[in-house]
Symmetry: C2
């Protein structure tokens, strides 16, 4: 049954999908409605034709500029640098941020051939100047790669009159010290604030 095996192989290349989940999905598609399959199939095949990166910030959008860059009620002197497009969705969901974004679509990783130009750091610098940014938030993940990338960007901005901050890391809200990792506890201590 070549068609089905082929589909299962393709599905199991999706993130978090193993052979068993892929088979379950394939059989569910077989049992389901043809109309749904057509819609889903076309959405997937056409996805990259319809969606591309915003020319300003790199966020995924169907238009030339994304809805955040074109919005008139965002503070254009406040810029937040994130690793990936979905990070914007997460930050937006808090409602606590009213500035603009810049998406790196990755982190510095010299071994994988990802350097400053692959991340578009020249475009970031240009954006900082064009917008007249006064505060820049480095919101890359608190991982080894995310930290190095944040540090690299900080160095690039040296000499400019910009407030640079890094998002806090420590214990997650609702977390338990007993089950936290050493690194998070160490960060929580170093980042302690006046109470």
């Amino acid at each position: 049954m070549n068609t089905l095996e082929n589909l299962i192989t393709l599905l199991s290349r999706l993130p978090g999908i193993g052979k068993k989940s892929a088979a379950r999905m394939a059989y569910s598609l077989l049992k389901g409605e043809e109309e749904y399959n057509r819609l889903l199939g076309e959405s997937i095949a056409e996805l990259k034709n319809k969606i591309h990166k915003c020319k300003e910030c790199g966020n995924y959008t169907e238009d030339e500029l994304c809805s955040i860059c074109t919005s008139s009620d965002r503070e254009s002197t406040l810029l937040c640098v994130v690793e990936e497009s979905p990070d914007i969705m997460m930050i937006e969901s808090t409602g606590d941020y009213r500035g603009l974004y810049f998406v790196l679509h990755g982190v510095l990783s010299p071994l994988d051939g990802i350097g400053p130009s692959e991340l578009g750091l020249d475009r970031l610098m240009k954006r900082v100047d064009d917008l007249g940014v006064t505060e820049l938030i480095l919101a890359t993940n608190p991982t080894l790669e995310g930290d190095s990338t944040a540090l690299y960007i900080k160095h690039l901005l040296e000499g400019k009159d910009i407030r640079i901050s890094r998002i806090a890391s420590g214990l997650p809200v609702g977390g338990d010290m007993e089950y936290a990792d050493k690194m998070s506890i160490s960060r929580a201590l170093k980042g302690r604030m006046e109470y």
Copy 2:
């Protein structure tokens, strides 16, 4: 971003896929290769055009008859009744069965409007006669619905000279009595065998 949200909604209708997994899949498709997306998309859209049920046993196949029904080295007087097509794959993987199959594509469920004719039990009876079946294994799941369906089929076959058996249920191999449910322990006791 309508296209992306639409895809996430479609993906989250797949079994075992929640909103978060669907978003992860969608973003991975966005970051991935266009060629892969095209292949996957077309496979899904075309799936039901290419694959249909075997005219004899109901197993999914790309041809008129499935590879098991057309195989010459299967015992054609031994028939195994299963609920779904993937069950065949599971039984085949054991290598312990050399007979033919019949797929019900469901279980009796009067409340959902699934009766004997929806499961093709008339075709099952015809198949039993045509093949001259001497032994029939009822391999529906050991659930309330699977048990009732097995019992119903057993009654249908009454009067015919056929050995009818039901797959064993009890503790799974490697299972622990301490964590097993009452029903499985009860079945394991009732189905105990001379040692």
